[in-house]
Symmetry: C2
Subunit: 230 residues, 2 copies
């Protein structure tokens, strides 16, 4: 038998299912982040702030369709692929509804940053085409500078804000980790993706632990950029 | 004195103020329509419908920034320019909050159509550069086919829906006209714009009446496309 091409990860049905799962999770995450950002923008103190936050929201929404198209390319159904992830994201958002504009800003910054870090880690284990798509979908929507400036200014005006926001950041991290654990426990395909397969190296327990400490370090650094203890 | 160029409408401060007013009204209208569409998308029966409606919303949001940039070019302050129009749009949306998905669809279709017709009529009275911008901002975001198909299907499944939606369409038209009248009465600059000025013809009362009957005819036609009596 002559081999016409290298064995491709996407030819493996289990791998394909896992990638469809991953795209579904990211797409639903971006869709729900979009909706929450538009909601949170209603808390804006000025119309200029509202437009800035709404603009970030629409950039996020723009990432959804390419992910859904990739699911279709891989033979999946985009709506079905998002389905298993509704609950985790919806519970996360319900548990972390911001009570004011600043909480909304910190949530956008910390939550998106954490999600992006996590997807970037996972992207190391997937084929190059899908990886490029995932990385493109994580492009910063301009949050960073805008949020950092606003949060630092608020703390400068009233230092007590810093303590309240530090607590809020810890709560966001806790809720995100608890939902991520639930998803990992329920979705065998994603766990299998991390464990490796045809032409893909996997993660052993030690590597998994190092990944979680990288996520935590990045979170700490983001909180510090906002001027907050983590 | 040698004249280096034709007198331009935008050199007239009163005209410029009126155009800034107009851009402010359209920009705030698009911004508030964006927010309402994202809200109404939450009523979607399926995730595919939600994505379709959210996608229309983001197209609408994309029109806001160019209008604000034009206000700045004309020497105005974008946020201040939108300010006089908050109340009219907010009252309109509060009075016409959809109670279900179909009401939301009909509102998006009928409301956007009416607003677009109105701005197109006014665009006939402004300078070419601003007119091109206004017309670009009114590009259909793909609502038409999507909404017509969904509403017609719902009526086919349950003909009583047709009666309820026809009443809803009348209510939307009534609320829109009552807010438009309030704005016209309060904003002298917009009324002056319609009355004409340097190098611009104006509207007399007969022409104004004809304009309103064109708006009504177009509304009737849109309702008919949805399969509804108006």
């Amino acid at each position: 038998m002559t081999q016409t091409s290298e064995p491709q990860a996407v030819d493996d049905p289990a791998y394909r299912a896992a990638v469809i799962d991953l795209m579904g999770a990211i797409a639903y995450g971006e869709l729900s982040a979009f909706e929450r950002l538009v909601d949170d923008a209603k808390l804006s103190p000025t119309l200029a702030d509202k437009i800035a936050l709404s603009s970030m929201a629409t950039v996020q929404f723009g990432h959804v369709q390419p992910l859904l198209d990739r699911i279709t390319e891989l033979g999946g159904d985009p709506v079905a692929a998002m389905d298993p992830f509704h609950k985790a994201f919806d519970v996360f958002h319900a548990a972390t509804a911001p009570s004011d504009w600043l909480e909304g800003l910190v949530k956008a910054y910390v939550g998106d940053g954490l999600a992006a870090d996590f997807y970037r880690e996972i992207a190391a284990f997937i084929d190059a085409d899908t990886r490029a798509l995932v990385l493109a979908s994580l492009q910063d929507a301009g949050q960073a500078d805008f949020v950092v400036e606003r949060v630092r200014r608020a703390i400068a005006e009233d230092p007590r804000v810093g303590g309240r926001m530090a607590l809020w950041g810890r709560r966001l991290m806790g809720e995100a980790l608890s939902q991520a654990q639930r998803v990992a426990a329920e979705r065998d395909s994603l766990a299998a993706l991390l464990a490796g397969g045809i032409d893909r190296p996997g993660l052993d327990l030690a590597a998994m632990t190092r990944m979680f400490s990288r996520l935590t370090e990045n979170h700490t650094q983001r909180m510090a950029e906002l001027g907050l203890a983590s």
